[in-house]
Symmetry: C2
Subunit: 261 residues, 2 copies
DNA sequence: CGGGACATTGATTAAGATCAATTTAAGTGG
DNA sequence: CCACTTAAATTGATCTTAATCAATGTCCCG
C-alpha cells in the first residue's frame, strides 16, 4: 500500500463525480494523503486482508461522491447503505432533538470512516454535514460484511473500527462530564492539532473549518464562552486567534490546561 | 428459546462458582429472567443462529463467574479475553484518570453484555465493578468471533451489539452536553425505571443500587447536587425518596422535566 | 451498639449562561 | 469593483446555576 501523490486540497475546485485517478498500485479508497501520513482511521487495514476486501468490493461498487459545503452525506433516519471513507474535506456529525437542540459528536477529517452510526439499527442516527466541499469513497456495507465473514482478520478489524466509535465517545464523555470550559477548548484544540499533524499539516498553524457555535455544540457550551476562552488564551500568549485562523504559541501550556482536572 | 424459572435474585446468597443448573431447553447464558422479559440486550440474539453459536461455545468454555459487591469483573488494562452476560446483580462501568477523576459510563443490569470496551484495542478501557454480589456468564471472545464468521446473521448481530455501545454513549453525551442538573437526574431516573420495567420489576418503586456519588459521576455533577435535586423533586411530589429507596409518584411530570431542553 | 460510609442541608462563591449591542468579514449582485 | 446584505464573532453587563466548603444527620454492618 504505497501512496499516490494526489493533492490533499484537490477539492478547492471540486469537479463533478469523476472517477479518481488511480496510481499504479493503490486502490482509490486509499490514495489519500491521510493514509500515507499514517493518519487514516482505516490505515491499519490498508495492508493485507482488508485491502483485498476493498479490491473485491471495487469490482462492483466502490465509487466516489462529492458533497458541497453544508450538504449532507447522510441524514438521521436514512437507511444504512454505505460506509464512507472521507478522502478530502471535513465534516460534522451531529444529532438534533425535536426541540432543535444540536449535539455535534465528531468532526471527522480526511481518512476517517463515516456512517458507523447506522450499524446498530440499520438506520442512521446522525446527520453528516460537510463543513467544506468534500469527497468520499463509498463502501457498500452489506458486501463489506459479507467479505469480512470470509476473512477472520478483516472481521476483527471491522469490529475494532466499530468499537472505535464508542471509544471516541467515551473520551468526549469524560471531557464533557469532568472539565471546565477552558479545559474543554484546550483539549479540543490539541486534539485538532494532533489530527492535523498526523495528516502532514502544521500542528501549530491551521484554519478551523467549523464555526464557534459548532465548537460550542461539540463541547457542551455556548458560542460566547468559546469566544471568551479563546480570547483569554490569546491574552495569555498561548494562542494567536484571528477568526478561524489559529496559531498555537505555547503547546505545553495548552496541554497543561487540558489535563488540569 | 423459552425461559427457565431461575429466580432473579438467586444471588442474595451467592454460592461459589457452581455450574448452572441447565433447564431442559435453554442455554445457561439465557436462563435469566431478563431474557424472558424481553429486556436482555442480547435478547434478539436468543433465537436462531446466535443461540447455536453459544451452544457451540458451551461445549468448551461457557462458564459462570460470581463477583462480590465491590469486586471487579475486569479492569482497565486487562486484556480482552471474554465478554460477559450479566445474569444477576448490577454493575458500574467506569473510567478513571491518572488524577483520580472517575467517569461512570454505564450501570448495566441483568441481561446486558459487558466487556465490549476491550474490543477496540484488545485491552479493556474501563473497570467493571459489581454494585452488589453478581453473576455473569463468560463468553470467550475469540471463539465467538470465529463462530460469527460462519454465520452471517450472527455476525451482523454481533456488530450491532458493538455499535450499540456507541449509541448509548451518544445518548449520554446529549444529556451531559445539553441539560441542567434537574433534567439529568430526571432522565437518569426514567431510564432506570424503564430498564427495571423491561425486566419485570416495578417501574415506580425500586431500590437504587448505586450511591449518590455514583449517580453524580455518571451525570457529570456533584453528589450534593444530586441530593438537592432529589429533595426538590420530592418537595414537588414527583418522587418519594428515602436514601436508595425510590418511588416515582408522577412519571409524567418527571418525563416533562427530562425533555425540557 | 459503635463506627464508618453515605446522605442531607446550609452558606457562600465562582463559572458560565443569558441578554444585548457592536464589529468584522465574506459574499453577492448591480 | 463597490455598495449592500448577512452570517459569524466579539465584547460587556447581569443573572442563574451548580460547585465548593462545611457541618450534621442517619443508616447499615460487623
Amino acid at each position: 500500500m504505497k501512496t499516490s501523490d494526489l493533492p490533499a486540497d484537490m477539492l478547492q475546485k471540486p469537479k463533478a463525480v469523476i472517477p479518481p485517478r488511480i496510481s499504479n498500485v493503490s486502490h482509490p479508497a486509499f490514495s489519500c494523503a491521510a493514509a500515507s501520513a499514517g493518519a487514516c482511521t482505516v490505515a491499519d487495514l490498508c495492508e493485507g486482508s482488508f485491502t483485498r476486501a476493498l479490491e473485491h468490493l471495487s469490482d462492483q461498487a466502490v465509487v466516489q461522491r462529492s458533497i458541497k459545503r453544508g450538504g449532507a452525506l447522510y441524514r438521521s433516519g436514512d437507511p444504512l447503505v454505505n460506509l464512507y471513507l472521507l478522502r478530502a474535506g471535513s465534516v460534522k456529525v451531529r444529532m438534533v432533538t425535536y426541540g432543535g437542540a444540536e449535539q455535534i459528536t465528531a468532526f471527522p477529517m480526511t481518512g476517517e470512516l463515516l456512517g458507523l452510526d447506522g450499524i446498530e439499527t440499520g438506520i442512521h442516527a446522525c446527520d453528516a454535514i460537510a463543513l467544506e466541499d468534500s469527497l468520499v469513497c463509498t463502501l457498500p456495507f452489506a458486501p463489506l460484511m459479507a467479505y469480512c465473514a470470509n476473512d477472520a482478520k478483516a472481521l476483527l478489524r471491522l469490529n475494532r473500527l466499530i468499537a472505535r466509535e464508542a471509544s471516541d465517545y467515551r473520551r468526549l464523555l469524560f471531557v464533557l462530564a469532568g472539565t471546565n470550559s477552558e479545559e474543554r477548548v484546550a483539549s479540543f484544540l490539541l486534539e485538532t492539532s494532533k489530527q492535523l499533524a498526523a495528516r502532514g499539516y502544521s500542528s501549530a498553524d491551521f484554519i478551523l473549518k467549523m464555526t464557534r457555535d459548532d465548537i460550542a455544540k461539540h463541547l457542551g457550551m455556548k458560542q460566547e464562552t468559546v469566544s471568551r476562552v479563546l480570547a483569554r488564551l490569546q491574552t495569555a500568549h498561548i494562542l494567536d486567534v484571528s477568526r478561524r485562523h489559529l496559531k498555537i504559541r505555547d503547546a505545553v501550556k495548552l496541554a497543561v490546561i487540558a489535563c488540569r482536572h
